[in-house]
């Protein structure tokens, strides 16, 4: 639910990083926080629990500069990935404008990726939205582990598993090394702003 302040010419929108536990959502935000210091509008807030897992959410406000004379501010969030934090995930997802779905490339996490995507679909539906209508970008993360001889899914398999119907842009990434993190975010912001532009036109 983006906020348009026409008087101050400010657009504020919300992008949520979604995905199964330990897939690298927080690592994405940590990299953005380090790599895009100039655009960061405040501190990154993280609340972790036992085992360094995100408990509630991570939050990072960034500024995109001016788009058509308007100051664009984006709030980046992550959700807790573990199954038991379902209610928190739903709370964080409320009012979302764009989603980055972070999928884990490890073969052993195949089922968890699919479960998490279903969970996203279910939660968006409960807010009267849909995974097909929400600006969405996918990340196939942890590609760097291929070099360590760990069984990873092929990009084709992941696309078949997760993106056969959605057909959204996807990126091979290593959030740990920062590879593909910026591209994913830029694509998600592009889709989000296009969607918001459409909404504003409709409202006019």
């Amino acid at each position: 639910m983006a906020i348009f302040n026409l008087k101050k010419r400010v657009i504020e929108c919300k992008i949520v990083y979604y995905g199964p536990g330990r897939c690298g959502k927080t690592t994405n935000l940590e990299y953005i926080f380090k790599a895009y210091k100039k655009q960061i509008k405040g501190e990154m807030v993280s609340i972790n629990t036992e085992g360094d897992r995100t408990l509630f959410f991570d939050f990072l406000p960034i500024g995109l500069g001016k788009v058509k004379g308007c100051d664009v501010r984006v709030q980046l969030y992550t959700v807790p990935g573990q199954v038991q934090y379902s209610s928190t995930r739903k709370l964080v997802l409320r009012g979302v404008d764009g989603v980055v779905f972070v999928a884990d490339s490890l073969k052993v996490r195949r089922e968890k990726n699919m479960e998490s995507l279903q969970d996203l679909q279910k939660n968006l539906k409960e807010y009267g939205s849909s995974v097909f209508k929400t600006p969405l970008v996918m990340q196939f993360n942890k590609r760097d582990l291929a070099g360590q001889g760990i069984p990873l899914m092929s990009v084709e398999q992941m696309a078949r598993d997760l993106n056969r119907q959605l057909k959204v842009p996807y990126f091979e990434t290593s959030a740990f090394l920062g590879q593909g993190v910026g591209q994913t975010l830029k694509e998600c912001m592009k889709l989000t702003l296009q969607s918001l532009q459409k909404q504003v036109q409709w409202a006019q």
Binding site: I47, G51, L55, F56, F59, S87, V108, Q148, I150
Partner: protein, 303 residues
């Protein structure tokens, strides 16, 4: 691939999963590795290797249980609580009171019950928000304490002049509904006019017999399972006062205000009965022979 290479690969995989925080997956790989090593007839240091892997499995199991047992919603620092209120209150309501209500509801949704309760309690002072604040207090009581605690709160409000009969009726209906949904059968006191209520309370007070001492059995903490006996120094209706010596540090620290004692034995000259109580006040005695000791007020809530 030779068995040795398979084992090496399994151990490398397990180590990477462990470093990724994927404890179940790591444990799975270590277990397969142990099975494979066990089947080897001639292997150098076979037993030592199995033992080393078993230690890793044990450590993973401990970490896994620690995560499972971790509190689902620990208290956030006040600064983060403020941020949560700000980020997740969506109505943008300009009415300060309504915005405060939404903020408190947001805190409760994030499991920040202590502060949410504080804020709801404050909101009960506002006539227009009293009923909705009370309903939320009852919800919090169900989530964080017990249905009995919710009933106690309702009983407290019944005696409070601040609440109109109409407001109390609404709260009572709401509480009845909550109890029904949980399948709990508790007869809630009816909402009476002020005069009737005073008479009713007097009757309750008269019904309670004199209690000379109590025995508290702790359900947790350092004194778990132990019964601590204390003399009652004063009784007024269902409220009893006890003196706790300053030497009983652990006891003083565990008996915090609001703490519910589920296993209490009440000793009276004519009978012993079992029940529960809530610590209502804890005051340090600053003068006289008991100086330094603590006076505890415990409300008997269920016998």
């Amino acid at each position: 691939m030779s068995v040795k290479s398979q084992i090496e690969l399994l151990l490398r995989e397990a180590e990477i999963y462990r470093s990724q925080g994927l404890l179940v997956e790591a444990k799975g790989k270590y277990n397969v590795a142990v099975d494979l090593i066990g089947k080897l007839d001639q292997a150098k240091n076979k037993e030592a290797l199995i033992q080393a892997i078993c230690r890793k499995i044990k450590s993973l199991t401990i970490s896994y249980h620690q995560i499972e047992r971790a509190q689902e919603a620990p208290q956030m620092p006040p600064k983060v609580q403020d941020l949560v209120k700000n980020l997740f209150s969506f109505s943008q309501d300009k009415d300060e009171d309504k915005a405060a209500l939404e903020g408190a509801i947001t805190l409760a949704k994030f499991g920040q019950y202590d502060r949410a309760l504080e804020e709801f309690n404050e909101l009960t002072k506002k006539d227009s928000l009293r009923v909705v604040a009370c309903k939320n207090i009852l919800r919090c009581c169900f989530s964080v304490y017990s249905p009995e605690e919710a009933v106690e709160r309702y009983k407290k409000w019944l005696k409070d002049d601040l609440y109109s009969k109409e407001q109390l009726q609404k709260i009572r209906l709401f509480l009845e509904d909550l109890l029904d949904k949980k399948g709990i059968e508790i007869q809630l006191p009816a909402v009476l006019d002020a005069d009737e209520a005073t008479i009713d309370q007097d009757r309750v007070d008269e019904d309670l017999i004199d209690i000379s001492s109590i025995g508290i059995t702790f359900e947790g903490g350092p004194q778990k399972g132990q019964m601590v006996e204390m003399e009652v120094s004063f009784q007024s209706g269902n409220m009893i006062s006890l003196i706790v010596s300053s030497k009983d540090r652990e006891l003083i620290e565990s008996l915090k205000v609001g703490f519910r004692l589920n296993d209490v034995q009440f000793f009276s000259p004519i009978a012993i009965f079992q029940g529960s109580g809530i610590v209502m006040a804890k005051t340090k005695i600053n003068s006289g022979p008991k100086r330094g000791d603590y006076s505890l007020d415990i409300k008997i809530v269920n016998t």
